[in-house]
């Protein structure tokens, strides 16, 4: 995908559709699509810095009970552990720095991997029995 704001919105829409296909309820779908939106913002704004020559790769897969989303950019990379805790009293009124927190809040697992050029974020949502039942009923 191109490093544009339009790609962020498109990825969020796709995430919502994929989450619906996976059988997730509306609240959980909103959380998953928000996590994907935040990861895309991270990739496009902080990673690729809107560089039209750099792309973002977005993939979705379901592996057993896991809905797995990966987002990779071609940016300089960053150290997620160096991002300040947005819930710390001294950071509460900061304008930015909540994206990774929101990804972690809405997903069961969030992983970061440094690539030779860029960063890959993996977002994992574990599907519950009820999600799988809904998924089966809709297919």
């Amino acid at each position: 995908m191109e490093s544009t704001l339009d790609s962020v919105n498109k990825a969020e829409e796709i995430a919502n559709q994929m989450a619906a296909q996976a059988g997730l309820d509306e609240d959980t779908r909103t959380g998953v699509s928000m996590a994907v939106r935040e990861a895309m913002i991270n990739a496009i704004l902080h990673g690729n810095a809107y560089d039209p020559g750099k792309r973002v790769n977005l993939t979705f897969e379901q592996n057993g009970r896991d809905l797995i989303v990966t987002i990779s950019d071609e940016g300089k990379g960053f150290q997620p552990e160096e991002v300040p805790d947005p819930l710390a009293p001294e950071n509460l009124l900061k304008q930015s720095g909540r994206g990774i927190f929101l990804m972690r809040a809405f997903m069961d697992e969030v992983r970061f991997r440094k690539l030779s050029s860029g960063t890959e974020i993996t977002l994992i949502k574990r599907l519950q029995r009820s999600d799988l039942d809904r998924q089966e009923a809709s297919t």
Binding site: M34, R37, E38, I41, L87, L92, L93, K94, L102
Partner: protein, 114 residues
């Protein structure tokens, strides 16, 4: 759905009725410009009506925080009105619910301004 903002005056308080999504890009910019414009006109009692705001991302949250601190730094007050469940939950998990003065009733919110 893009964001829209309109303002009205009630008893010296500026109510900003927002609708749509406050997200990275247009939504955040509209909110920023609206608050900046009000402050430049000396309107420092601001009530943001979020009743029709369907969605806020981290950029939108940042913009709300920035609006709050800008108004406060100029000696004014900014309150939030009519949060939807999604926005309420988002402010709870980011620990901002207690930072903002959140109201459910417009008349009550207006009288709460100093």
């Amino acid at each position: 759905m893009s964001m829209k903002a309109s303002t009205r005056q009630v008893d010296g308080v500026t109510i900003v009725d927002l609708s749509g999504r406050i997200t990275l890009g247009e939504g955040s910019v509209i909110l920023r410009d609206t608050v900046k414009d009000l402050l430049s006109k000396g309107q420092k009692k601001i009530l943001l009506n979020l009743g029709d705001v369907s969605y806020i991302d981290s950029s939108g949250i940042g913009e709300l925080v920035s609006a709050f601190t800008s108004v406060r730094n100029q000696g004014g007050e900014l309150k939030l009105l009519h949060l939807t469940k999604k926005v309420h939950d988002l402010l709870q998990i980011t620990k901002l619910y207690t930072v903002f003065d959140v109201k459910d009733d417009e008349a009550g919110a207006i009288t709460a301004f100093a």
